[in-house]
Symmetry: C2
Subunit: 379 residues, 2 copies
């Protein structure tokens, strides 16, 4: 079995999301947007895909495609390792672009074997509890503009079946000076609103000082929070070692720092976090996240996966040491349950007990609307 | 797909190997022996096997079989984790017994998917260099009774194509007092015999003192050896930290200490070895060895696999950070190239350049002689 073509394109669609200067998304006026769509085709007709707004289409077509045509998709560890080394001098070959390649290759292998990817990896569970991941704070009336708004929204999420909720609070440019006290206030009001039995987490502004991060951590410990993510620049691992040694609140990370599973090994050795973190559309794909999961498991640690991507569901279905699926981002003015236009159905419907099932069809299990895609593909 | 039966039996055969009091094997008079043979059958007729002299047949039939009947073999991570926890109070549920279960399940998944197991894991390479692993020293004329005998045998191995050779030297009861100077003498004579371009390793007596181990390590460093394994009781990790900090010779381990991938995490964190070690028939099967391989990879370390088992070939085919296949044990008076009576062919033939190909048929790729097995199965 050989790869005969690999092509990355864009799918055009109407978006209701706008990104602010720092890159965070908020509800906004409908406008045309595009999302990356990778298609890898094999000589027997098997096709694999990845779809993601962050893959670099040009890098996939210019650097990756020529390198993988003629290769056996089942030799994907070899492809992944070779592409990893190519990232060094192709400075635009991001981890998120490597993710797209990796996901499409696992999709092919699952389809060819006739099993969902999590069973290729070795199945552990077929459903996973979700947490509702609330979008970054904003200044929209009826949105997420006050601590009270978070509390109201959290109550609605619990009514929908969520047993766990994560807040993202206010960051620039919405709020020029991020405010630890305001973060704690929102967390306090959400705890009061949902009661003691809902698991809560916080992902606040990502560039606090050590002292600000510790202030929030200690306050969240008193509020019975499950963890906090990335309150400081993760390029200072020493700051996380400091924070982790000063607070009893579990710290979850790293998420965005480069280096995939190797960075995570260093964080473990340094004691920089209590709970690991990685994501299949962020840190090198399913391949790297499985390496990280095995690494954390060997050290007796859990890993919590970043983002609501389908690859995360498959990893969670294959490991004992990951608890939650991140469902979101959620916002009072947005509908999460309606599929994006390139899908016929969403892959992560949640049941009334707050669980999401791992996709059970061969491959990754995206339910693409190929007619829509064909009509809206652009280079 | 569900498991409908699991049965472990013995295959009777004529052996030319005898085990000494410490458990090491040597050539001896032909006598009847038996090897464990596990068969797991699924509702669609797919069968998986493991064959190994160290599985505990009784545990597989009494503890494991009832626990897995009705389970989906693709949910093997779940089965593996559950069985791992059962090991605690079933004190006879050894890691080697867990290996047998794990190998049979991977065999089923590969067969069902129509791909060799290393491609299920994500293929990295399709062949691997072997080292000739010379049997433990003895007192047999024409065997391995002197340093000169090792040197002569090593030259023959190089003539056959081996580019790397590992010695196991003299241990009790063959030699009541293991002798570091005699070990070094054998290593020196082998180095002189094969020249500087053949990679050499040593696996000596396993209960030396720290000082004896360091003496050998420093001497082997001068002889340009690639690594030394297990010169002391691995239950004293501190002794390995001490040894590793005192010698420049790479130390490879742990091999026999309990705890699978978790112990290996602790050894890494402590700096107890330079090169990792594990084996698919020793430390919990392919599942655990892949976790260990990912762990070592994340720390920038290699892993060298213990033993000549078929599972090791598949792991080596799926990872970038394992160099050699251990081919043996080899002895001047024994023929390694003739298959055991329960096989029609050996799975690890070596080419003239010293490479062994990863089996390419679906599943693990054992070429069983089912007629022989049927005629010689015993309970």
């Amino acid at each position: 079995m050989k790869i005969v073509s690999a092509k990355a394109e864009y799918i055009r669609y109407q978006s209701r999301m706008v990104r602010d200067g720092e890159g965070h998304s908020h509800p906004g006026k409908p406008h045309e947007a595009k999302v990356g769509f990778l298609t890898i085709v094999c000589d027997d007709g098997t096709e694999g895909h990845a779809v993601d707004g962050n893959m670099l289409v040009d890098v996939l077509n210019r650097v990756v495609a020529p390198a993988i045509i003629g290769e056996d998709p089942f030799m994907h560890e070899h492809i992944w390792q070779r592409m990893r080394t190519w990232q060094r001098l192709h400075s635009d070959f991001t981890d998120r672009t490597l993710c797209a390649l990796d996901l499409a290759l696992w999709d092919i292998c699952g389809k060819k074997c006739g099993v969902p990817v999590y069973k290729l990896l070795g199945g552990y569970k077929d459903k996973v509890p979700a947490y509702g991941s609330i979008m970054v704070g904003d200044d929209i009336k009826g949105g997420l503009d006050t601590p009270e708004a978070y509390a109201e929204f959290a109550k609605k999420l619990v009514a929908k079946g969520y047993k766990a909720i994560k807040l993202h609070t206010w960051m620039p440019p919405i709020i020029p000076n991020p405010d630890p006290k305001l973060d704690v206030k929102a967390c306090q009001m959400v705890r009061d609103a949902v009661g003691p039995d809902i698991a809560l987490m916080l992902d606040p502004y990502h560039d606090y000082t050590r002292e600000q991060a510790l202030y929030i951590a200690d306050a969240l410990y008193e509020l019975g929070f499950l963890w906090m993510e990335e309150p400081m620049d993760e390029h200072s691992m020493s700051s996380y070692v400091w924070l982790n040694s000063h607070t009893r609140l579990p710290i979850c990370g790293p998420e965005t720092v480069e280096g995939k599973n190797r960075t995570r090994a260093d964080w473990i050795a340094a004691g920089a976090s209590d709970i690991g973190r990685a994501g299949t559309e962020v840190t090198g794909g399913i391949t790297s996240v499985m390496k990280s999961a095995h690494l954390y498991e060997s050290f007796g640690m859990n890993i919590e996966l970043h983002g609501n991507t389908i690859g995360n569901l498959h990893v969670l279905g294959a490991i004992p040491n990951g608890e939650y699926f991140e469902r979101g981002l959620l916002h009072p003015l947005l509908d999460y349950e309606t599929p994006k236009p390139w899908f016929k159905s969403i892959y992560d419907p949640m049941d009334e007990n707050g669980f999401v099932s791992i996709p059970s069809v061969p491959g990754l299990g995206w339910d693409f609307d190929y007619d829509y895609i064909k009509d809206n593909i652009v280079v």
